[in-house]
Amino acid sequence: MINVLFFGPVVERTGTNSLQVAYQSGMTLQHLRDELAAQYPHAFEIVCFSAVNEHHVRDLSMPLLDDSEVTFMAKFSGG
C-alpha cells in the first residue's frame, strides 16, 4: 500500500488527512497524483509540492516503492 498524507489547507479540501492507495508495480508519483487529483480535484488545485518518505520530490516520474509515504502539499506559510 502507498500511505498518502495531507496537511493544512489540503486537508480542508480532501476532508481527510490520510488515506491508503493500493500499490501497483511500476507506479510513479505522477500516476498516484493523477489518480488522486481525479478524486479530489478541488484539493489538487492548490497542491504545489510533493514529498516521498519526507523528502521533496520534483520529478513526478519517480517510481514509487510499496509502503512509501507520499505527501501532496500546498504552498508553505510558516514563519
Binding site: 519526507e54 505527501t71 508553505f76 506559510s77 510558516g78 514563519g79
Partner: protein
C-alpha cells in the same frame, strides 16, 4: 540542553536560546537573531488568532538540513531554529532563528537566509482567524 532545531507548542525563551548558542564556541563575536511574531492585522483584515499545521517529521528534517547548509554556506559557529506549532494571538512568538559567527556580517546574512529559506522549504501552514472566517495563508512575503 534543548535541541538546536525543534518544533514545539510552548513558547521559547530567547535568552535560553542565545545562551545555548554561545555555549557552543568562545570564538563567537556576532549573533544575529530573528523572531517572527503574530500580528492582529493582515491583508486588510483583523486577525484574532493564527493556528499552525505541520508535517512534523519532515519539517524538523528540513529545518536541520537548513541549519547545516547555513553553517556551511556562511561559516557559522552554530545556529538554532525553533518554530511553534499551536494557536497564537497577537504579539505571541512564532519562530526563533539565531546565527552565531566570528563576525557580524556572516551572522546577519545567515539569519536572513535561514528565515527566507524556511518560508519556502519547510512544510508548515498557517491559518488566520478573522471576523470573516478562517483562511489558510498561501503567500509568504
Amino acid at each position: 540542553m534543548k535541541a538546536a532545531v525543534r518544533i514545539q507548542q510552548e513558547d521559547f525563551s530567547q535568552d535560553e536560546e542565545i545562551l545555548a548558542l554561545k555555549a557552543s564556541s568562545k570564538r563567537m563575536g556576532g549573533i544575529a537573531t530573528f523572531v517572527g511574531c503574530a500580528r492582529d492585522f493582515s491583508e486588510g483584515r483583523d486577525v484574532s488568532q493564527i493556528s499552525f499545521d505541520a508535517y512534523g517529521s519532515m519539517a524538523v528534517s528540513e529545518m536541520n538540513q537548513l541549519r547545516s547548509e547555513a553553517i556551511a554556506k556562511y561559516g557559522l559557529l552554530d545556529a538554532r531554529i525553533v518554530h511553534r506549532i499551536c494557536t497564537v494571538t497577537a504579539g505571541d512568538n512564532i519562530v526563533f532563528i539565531a546565527a552565531g559567527a566570528e563576525h557580524r556580517a556572516a551572522a546577519l546574512e545567515a539569519c536572513r537566509w535561514m528565515i527566507d529559506e524556511l518560508k519556502v522549504r519547510v512544510p508548515i501552514w498557517k491559518k488566520e482567524v478573522t471576523p470573516q472566517g478562517e483562511t489558510w495563508v498561501t503567500s509568504h512575503p
